[in-house]
Symmetry: D2
Subunit: 438 residues, 4 copies
């Protein structure tokens, strides 16, 4: 990475080299550096200034960070007088030029500041970290929302799909990247390197998207198991001692874990894009695959079942919940439900209801995973009993897991029906389970 | 380039694969595709739509292209009613949130359209080409200036310095890239491969900046000769048969050609950034180098001398031009001037005036090359008689060439004095030449 | 190439670094360095000594080189007394151990010397150059044949097939390699870069084998045209302005040029190996290809026709030659032959005879190209009138070219029949042409 | 690795593709395949035959392997009659040509067989594995020694120094290679990935030599700690929680582990070569380093002290051992020795004797590690009390460790004195310790 070394060396000798010497008025304070970076001096000594800014920020404590974001909010926003002038002119005589002038007046200098920080090779990473910090602060501080909005605006532009590169992750991938998988894996934790090794064996696939400015940092990764038939239980897929299957004999690709790694990119969407690329790569390299499906958790089902369902306005849901909850609460309750055909059907039915029909006040599905996959055009295919019997699996969804099926032939029409009409694509089996609770 | 092949394959099977099939309402027309790409459908089938857009655009003739830009200007600008509403609200009660709302209302959907095109790996290249087309059209069509502004806005964000990678170009570089150098070299044309080979020999250096989305397309390149002492004549530097010097024995790096390759990036500045990186790399790898200087053309000097100087409001300039021009106009005129000490001094003096003190109405230097290097903080170091005796050199500047000296120790202060006070840094010799004509 | 730089630096500081200092008895003379390199000192300071040897050799003139090879022949051969002792012991009591002892006694120290030179990264290249020099000298000097034999022995071991890497050569290949193609192409000269570019276009393929010790030096390369049907004329394949075809539409791969680049590797065979790999790669990447054939020159046909055929012991051959030669000798002779059905048939027949049945005293085919392809298991498929009407083509074979067909299904049986029974595989057409002259 | 995939595919389709079909007389038996591979057929179908041979060998059990080596010994040796004829001719009239003829007659066909196996990309690895198997068998079976000799002969030629590439191993190295370090590390075991990570931190260096035919298989690796002053204890160097030092502040490089990974390359020496390259790379990249030293185990000292020293023919050694052993044998014996100045001096003295002066019957030093480093030209610099207090360290050398110092300025002269005169270079301190026991 020639340029990295080079720019590091510029920055090391930095201030000397480009005459931003110690002997002169060095802005030790962040506000001064930010101002200088946006000024003409920023054009001449931008790299040294940006490097200084990054270093100083790194030494701030929580209070300092909040002060920094407040500074960005107050001092580096657009000039209200200029906006007002342009706004009045536009109102008086609307025109394309007036709209452009207004857009320029309203463009916050913060954004340009962030772009100048990005003259550093590590600038992109720093701005992502800034965003993560902003997300931590923004809840209590509505004033900072506009800073977060600008961070997101700039990052969205940088993380444009065409800049991302899809790579297969294998046991030949550098350890520094594999380590990130172990760290970031959020769906089914990877307890150690030997577990990771199994997840990279012949009958597994792992893909990651990389951004050129973050060569050792996967932005998203997807883990896939190559199996025969739709997998309903995740345990065998994670077992490090499971025998390794022949990938050429597999007909089904199960996406059993999808992880967004960087908090600072939250809300910047490339998931649908990613999965389609992964599907395309799998189709090319393993032409025997006919089925592409997830095996997904149902994160809030148990909580919903215990707190929302008993007071639901649909009597059928209330009744089913009231029948189920006492049994589930007992010792061996889940087995008892499993052994009782009617109760088991109720549990499946309520789960289908939770995934496919329970909405937030804003009209969107309550389950975030369902929202993501159905929004991508997938189909709610199958609910699986005892799919994940780990403590986490029981805690989230009483051990149930769900398959969302990605059928290339119907992705777009599902997506449009979902987005425009709120219609959820389901298999017949799930439709049947859902019916009593609609 | 795994992802390229992959996405090509998506696009080839494309519409089928992601269910944007021929049998359904395929928007053959560009307006429809643009609208679809910005709609919800764009999220599900963006790649196929963007590919279609790129293909359709490629088949347009000049009239079609103008119609397309007019479409972008008229239909894909911001909603004027929404802007007006937000503008009135802001005027009534200015606030940071109101400014953000206004900025969002004024953000043209065109920009998002361009970002979605960039889901394609070749999207960046396409947008650069669009910009080049826009620049061709915009002169006669002020309406299209706003489209050009948006293209530039989006490209500026993508071509953020930290994304560019500096690479040394050598004879081991792929031919597909070397070929671009031959094509693009604008300062001193490269007549063929054997000439290029000499420019990549041991005592030369060539650097290029690359953007990750354009791996085979250098964005800027710089050619350097490693010599002893300040070179004043470009002929020996270009001579394919010149003996190859020992780079370790050189004390001076002469930047004899700097080329921005892509018209679509015009006005997006990274030149200062580039040269500093090149200086830093040269310092690292060749510690014997003590002097970094250009050997630059003086593009408009002769034209200025012949048309502006004779009518200048400074009598000294008028007088000098009137003495020089008849001699220069005669057969062997240049030699005659060279043989006459006073005339030669006049020519140098007027050239120093042209470079260092002649301003446009907007107060900026008239010579674009001087503006660039002096703006970077370089110093007007030396004028060279018979520096470039090629027809082009005689046509541009009566054969004169100029050295702009990059002294790392004074770059920043020169830059600031130039930008803030319009002060041009000159060597004593040039100052002396310039004095009679100030 | 980290190690290269490193070892260069060892060698530069070299003698100092590893205490083979100037102050000590530096063997300036080659014999002394060779002895030292083979001694214990060679183990400690081998790299510096080998580097010195290479440098000294490089400064030798022709006489010096001959002296050096004579030195290798006389002083660095095996110890005759030791051989005699081991030989007597073996004769007295043959045994496996005795054979091994004898082999060790007979192993010339020259070989170990060459292996120690190969501690240098550039050692392999140097030994290849040595061999080329040896080949130049060996003719007049039978004494040097044993040195050549040792050079070939060592190189054969290093150029073991598994070490060679097949690479496709494209316009994205480094110029330093492409330049070699222009230099080395022996079959159909490449007049310049734009001609090369056409040979690397979409409807062409170029492959090269590389050895890891010679990363910028192709050892063999093969040029292929992708066409429909068996090509019989080479002109259209070489035409830089020919329209570029669609490779996916091609059914036939024509190998129109195969070049061994390095004289020093003469007689070390990997041609069959190479072509099979190329066929396999073409089959994989272009599944539409069904036919693999050469379009080859017939280097000695005209010479044979004019000097051997008229005095052949087969009367039919004599008669045909006597009928043909006077016509060919006249102005427009070739056209005259072409216009006369019987004469044309004679020319084809004699050519088939020359290629498929004319033997050297050692029983091998007289034509080297035929020997190579038929030895690989190819079939003599078709003779082509006016296949190469360049001066060289007329000079070599009166413009005739031949297709050798590589049919994977019969390669091995053709090879065995050829090697064991001297049977040449021919198409029916060629068999018919050949028949009158058998 | 294009060629690997390609050749795998050739081999997969293999026999079909190159017409060595099942329908024909497939030599299922190893002897037949070996014969075929050496025959003409081997030239045409070598890859398929070699692949078959490798596959069949892989399925052999221990008895089968012995049978295979016996086959190689008996059937694929040189022709004794031919040798005898050539031997008689040479004895009758010695000549260079006669010596060459004899060498050729004595060259075992086994070697050519091994070279033909090496047409496979995985051939090199297979031959290394064969050698490892041969080493296991050869002890009991003197007949097989000649097979081992041929394997070593061929491998020595392939593992010529110039073919090896030195690479730095870091945390960015592919996991498949790092895993090998964990597996192979023989000196100080690496208990897990987090331990490995520490050994690759900023203040450590790890180098490996690779052969191009074994891209994922380090042939040797060396682990280095960058410290201030000569390190005498290995514990802190291995501690995963030790704070990471600044490499630029280090003045000393401690080689604390050197591992030859592949049993099949045993006896093929490149250690001296390797260490010199590592020293050169360290000097280049860390110019502050002034001292290069090992911190090495003393594998057989305790065993020698307990079994050989008490019966030594030097009375001083006998006496010292008799004084030491009873104390060492007691509970806390080592501490007791450490607390007694005279006893401690005796232990150091006997250790110096063991390392620097105890010889095998063949006149070489008894300690293999001493033999290696002193043979490279290093100096016996310092003995370290409690250098390795692990069970293994106590078991091998009562916790003592030794520094061998690599001083570039004296390497060669030490090497020559050692090899020619058996003189061991020692520091003054060690010379003093050794003196009473010489």
């Amino acid at each position: 990475m020639q340029i990295t070394d080079l720019i590091n060396s510029i920055a090391d000798r930095g201030l000397e080299l480009f005459a931003f010497g110690r002997g002169r008025a060095l802005p030790e304070d962040l506000p001064g550096i930010c101002r200088a970076l946006l000024s003409e001096r920023g054009e001449a000594s931008g790299i040294a200034l940006a490097r200084e800014l990054v270093a100083l920020y790194g030494r701030l404590d929580a209070a300092g960070r909040e002060a920094f974001f407040t500074l960005l909010a107050r001092e580096f926003g657009p000039d209200h007088d200029a906006i007002a002038t342009a706004a009045r002119a536009f109102v008086a005589e609307p025109s394309a030029d007036g709209a452009l002038a207004l857009a320029e007046a309203a463009e916050p200098p913060r954004r340009e500041l962030l772009r100048r920080i990005n003259m550093l090779p590590e600038g992109t990473e720093f701005v992502i970290d800034l965003r993560a910090d902003a997300l931590d602060l923004v809840d209590g501080k509505p004033e900072l929302r506009i800073v977060d909005a600008d961070l997101k605006h700039v990052l969205t532009s940088w993380f444009s799909g065409g800049f991302l590169e899809l790579c297969r992750i294998t046991w030949e991938t550098p350890a520094i990247i594999l380590e990130k998988l172990i760290q970031y894996e959020a769906v089914h934790a990877i307890p150690g390197w030997e577990f990771l090794r199994r997840r990279l064996a012949e009958d597994r696939r792992c893909y990651a998207f990389f951004h050129p400015a973050l060569p050792n940092e996967p932005v998203i990764f997807v883990q896939v198991a190559l199996v025969r038939g739709l997998a309903g239980k995740v345990g065998p897929l994670l077992d490090p001692d499971a025998p390794v299957g022949d990938p050429a004999a597999a007909d089904t690709a199960i996406f059993y874990s999808i992880t967004n790694t960087l908090k600072g990119l939250r809300g910047i969407s490339f998931g649908s894009f990613l999965l389609k690329h992964v599907v395309a790569d799998l189709q090319q390299t393993l032409p025997n695959l006919t089925t592409f499906s997830t095996l997904s958790p149902i994160p809030g089902f148990r909580h919903w079942l215990e707190t929302v369902a008993p007071q639901h306005d649909r009597p059928a849901i209330r009744a089913a919940a009231e029948a189920l909850l006492p049994v589930l609460a007992g010792e061996g309750g889940l087995e008892a439900v499993g052994a009782d055909k009617a109760l088991k059907a109720s549990l499946f039915g309520l789960c289908a209801r939770y995934l496919g029909a329970e909405l937030r006040p804003n009209g969107r599905l309550i389950d975030p995973v369902a929202r993501f996959h159905l929004g991508n055009g997938a189909r709610l295919e199958r609910l699986n009993w005892a799919g994940d019997t780990s403590p986490k699996g029981l805690e989230q969804g009483w051990g149930l897991l769900v398959n969302y099926l990605y059928d290339p032939a119907e992705l777009e029409q599902n997506h449009e029906a979902f987005v425009n009409a709120g219609r959820v694509a389901t298999s017949r089996a799930v439709a049947r389970q859902l019916k009593p609770y609609l």
